[in-house]
């Protein structure tokens, strides 16, 4: 059952990733990216990372992608003009990509043969354990992150404001 779920959502993630790269229109790419993020959230649940799965849906697929779609709508971004491709790139692109990905898969299997298996429910990390670790061991990075977010807010406001004379 877990294997079927993994294969299903991995296939959705890869298909949406390919669609992100191939689509001409940015709004189609954004919808594909939301598909990738949603299927990755399911994979996080299979890995027992419940809190990360929830945050993935809320922060990534919710907040960040809404920001992207908003900017695409605001700028009225149209389709890309097609790029002129030479015949070797048309002919060799997809076979070379397949060979490259197969090589990556082989290398992962070769160098990490002793990795374990993932069983659903074997490990489950809720918000309490993450919170305990975040506020004890990783307290300083957490506080630095708050300053980072503050700077990002200020930067976004400064960059996107209207000049008032």
């Amino acid at each position: 059952m877990e294997l079927i779920l993994f294969l299903l959502f991995a296939a959705i993630a890869v298909a949406c990733g390919i669609s992100l790269v191939v689509q001409k229109h940015p709004i189609a790419s954004a919808l594909s990216l939301i598909g990738v993020m949603g299927s990755l959230a399911v994979l996080y649940l299979l890995l027992g990372a419940e809190f990360i799965a929830a945050v993935q849906m809320i922060v990534y697929a919710g907040a960040i992608m809404v920001l992207f779609v908003f900017v695409i709508m605001l700028l009225n971004a149209g389709a890309e003009s097609p790029i002129g491709k030479s015949w070797p790139s048309r002919l060799l692109g997809i076979p070379l990509l397949t060979i490259f990905l197969a090589l990556i898969a082989y290398l992962v299997q070769y160098y990490a043969p002793s990795l374990g298996v993932v069983r659903f429910g074997a490990v489950s990390t809720g918000a309490s354990e993450i919170g305990r670790s975040l506020f004890t061991k990783y307290l300083l990075p957490f506080e630095v992150t708050s300053i980072l977010v503050l700077i990002a807010i200020l930067g976004a406001i400064v960059l996107a404001r209207k000049e008032i004379d």
């Binding site: 790269v21 890995l47 990372a49 993935q56 992207f68 890309e80 298996v117 670790s133 990002a152």
Partner: protein, 105 residues
């Protein structure tokens, strides 16, 4: 073929590598600045999957903490980056990255 109730961890890593490669391809081949930015988000997501997979393997919560930090940095990056895109569009009226090349000259 593994049994139906378990998934080898290396498959998660391979999926992560595939998604990362797709992100790199999008970053290199696309010319719309927003799509390039979304490819970067795809790469960050692929790395997050690796972090969570190793967190499961090592039975430690640290990998998920790092994923959490990556998400926060991605949110901050999206806010600032999209503001920069807005400013570029206001000044140059284009979203094609090839036409934004004033640092080159």
């Amino acid at each position: 073929m593994p049994p139906l109730n378990s998934v080898p961890l290396s498959w998660y890593l391979i999926l992560s590598a595939i998604l990362f490669s797709l992100g790199v391809a999008g970053f290199l081949f696309r010319r719309n600045i927003i799509t390039v930015f979304m490819s970067i988000e795809l790469m960050l997501n692929a790395v997050n999957l690796s972090f969570v997979a190793f967190s499961h393997q090592l039975r430690q919560v640290d990998g998920q903490i790092f994923t959490f930090f990556v998400m926060v940095v991605a949110a901050a990056e999206a806010a600032v980056g999209l503001a920069i895109i807005l400013t570029v569009f206001k000044n140059r009226n284009t979203l094609t990255i090839d036409e934004v090349s004033s640092l080159k000259n």
